[in-house]
């Protein structure tokens, strides 16, 4: 066996090795696969736009042109400047409040009885129906929009955190106790790290819901920011611009979720790195 390998490498130089490398090829390269999927998606879009499926459906190429146009004339930047304020504020508040409340409910019976039913109802309710009510109470400013983000983002974050804390690995808790861990050490060193995958799943859902909330608020409450950009271009039948705006917020939402996953693996679950 060993001899054969040696003969081959002497005879063919580096060729067999290089050949083997190419044979493994692009299929083992996640980056290439992902790029391929994006290219395929763009191609199908382009074809569908050229048929055309609908007069209101622009091609991929037109949409990209419109996107760079919106970037160049500054309207995209201006829209995001106004959308990102309630979005970031609402999402950050929901994340901290949600993880905090969820942990509290997971650890403390009374808190569970007081709060969890409310969040279960909130999660089940079509929360968008509350948005006119929020406008009625808080007007059409920043507060209303931040609240719209929070009522969508908070319940799923609280409930996931609560469930994760409640279902923490019992044997690790016993282990921590047997090695004289205090209550605080148990929470910080066992419960939160062990619960972090489910907490982060909740955070990802919550952040996605927050994006829904901000767009809803801008479509329903005040025509500002990205919501306004969408409405404006729809009303002028600039469908390429409209699609470019919608695409941009989807892309931003996706990037935020990817970033969140990176933070999770990096900070809380290093053993999953590269897995």
């Amino acid at each position: 066996m060993a001899t054969i390998v040696r003969t081959e490498s002497e005879a063919g130089g580096l060729a067999p090795f290089a050949g083997g490398h190419a044979a493994r090829g692009w299929r083992d390269q996640p980056v290439m696969l992902r790029l391929l999927s994006v290219v395929l998606f763009a191609a199908i879009w382009e074809i569908a736009g050229r048929i055309p499926v609908s007069f209101a459906f622009p091609t991929f190429f037109d949409t990209m042109v419109a996107f760079f146009g919106l970037l160049a004339d500054g309207s995209m930047a201006k829209a995001y400047l106004s959308t990102l304020q309630p979005l970031v504020l609402g999402v950050v508040l929901s994340a901290f409040l949600g993880v905090g409340l969820g942990t509290l409910c997971g650890l403390w019976r009374t808190g569970e009885w007081l709060l969890i039913p409310m969040f279960i109802v909130l999660q089940a309710a079509p929360v968008a129906a509350f948005i006119p009510m929020v406008t009625f109470i808080y007007g059409i400013g920043m507060t209303a929009k931040t609240l719209a983000v929070m009522i969508l983002a908070l319940p799923v974050i609280v409930l996931n955190t609560y469930k994760a804390v409640r279902n923490v690995n019992e044997s690790l808790l016993v282990m921590c106790r047997s090695f004289l861990g205090t209550r605080w050490q148990t929470v910080a060193k066992i419960i939160l790290p062990d619960a972090s995958p489910v907490i982060f799943a909740g955070l990802r859902l919550g952040v996605a819901a927050g994006f829904v909330g901000v767009v809803l608020a801008e479509l329903l409450i005040t025509p500002t920011g990205i919501g306004d950009l969408i409405t404006f271009h729809r009303s002028r039948a600039d469908y390429a611009e409209m699609y470019a705006t919608i695409g941009s917020i989807i892309a931003l939402s996706t990037l935020t979720l990817v970033f969140l996953q990176w933070v999770e693996v990096r900070v809380f679950r290093p053993e999953k790195r590269g897995a």
Binding site: S171, L180, P270
Partner: protein, 267 residues
């Protein structure tokens, strides 16, 4: 049923023993099920004592009561003369399911007991590194538990218990989730470790061979309710080649004798 001490060997006189853990009148029930009734037991210092019995005899319950992880309904446990009801620094536990933190490396897992006690990082990692080498895991310091085999994971659990320098090590069926080959290797290592660690081991197992192979003293428990049925001190020379023990006459006789005693509890 009276507990009897049987010795396989020339000595039949029981000399007074220096016991580090004293169990007096321990009873425990789970609802209607009586897990333990009136257990009195002494654990001699520096020896390995096994709690052996069929499932349902309360051996793990007794170990967890000694560890302070479960409260007894009646009775006391004293370690070095002091009554204990909660975990303490003089006892360390090795878990059946390893109980390793999957997000932490081997070295952090091993140093975890010291981390909870507030030992400085450099110092606790030095200690951890020493015991990682002691259990034969040197160079695995930065691996995560999922990268290790079952046997290696339990070695991490053992190193963690050794790192806190407790006098008494409590092992709850440590090898039951380890495959047969690794178990035998681990048992051999445990014999070696015992001779140079000078600690008291309390070891729960359901394997007769395992108990006889490693123990200085075997406490046989009978089930429903859990009571002491017999105490056996196998007189086996464990110096030299551990492989030889499996062919030792005393070893084989003791295994036979225990099996005859336990048979009636097995349906």
């Amino acid at each position: 049923m009276r507990a009897s001490v049987v010795r396989n060997g020339p000595t039949s006189v029981i000399e007074p023993i220096d016991s580090i853990v004293k169990v007096r009148g321990i009873s425990k029930a789970y609802g209607n099920v009586e897990a333990l009734r009136g257990i009195d037991l002494d654990f001699p210092r520096g020896k390995l004592t096994s709690l052996l019995g069929p499932s349902g005899c309360g051996k793990t319950t007794l170990l967890k009561i000694i560890a302070g992880l479960i409260d007894a309904d009646a009775g006391t446990v004293a370690v070095e003369g002091k009554t204990v009801t909660r975990p303490g620094p003089e006892r360390a536990f090795v878990f059946q399911d390893f109980a390793l933190m999957p997000w932490a490396t081997v070295i952090r897992n091993v140093a975890f007991g010291l981390e909870l006690r507030g030992t400085r990082k450099a110092e606790r990692e030095d200690i951890a590194r020493h015991y990682i080498a002691e259990v034969g895991l040197a160079s695995f310091e930065d691996k995560y538990p999922h990268e290790l085999s079952g046997g290696m994971r339990q070695r991490v659990g053992l190193a963690r218990a050794l790192s806190v320098k407790a006098d008494v090590l409590l092992l709850d069926e440590p090898f039951s989730a380890v495959d047969e080959q690794n178990r035998r290797k681990f048992q051999e290592d445990l014999i070696r470790l015992r001779t140079n660690q000078n600690k008291t081991f309390i070891f729960v197992t359901h394997s007769i061979e395992e108990a006889v192979y490693i123990s200085d003293r075997i406490v046989l428990l009978s089930p429903r309710p859990g009571r002491i049925s017999q105490i056996i001190e196998p007189d086996i020379d464990r110096s030299g080649d551990p492989e030889r023990i499996h062919r030792d006459k005393h070893y084989l006789d003791t295994v036979d004798e225990i099996w005859r005693g336990l048979k009636r509890y097995v349906e």
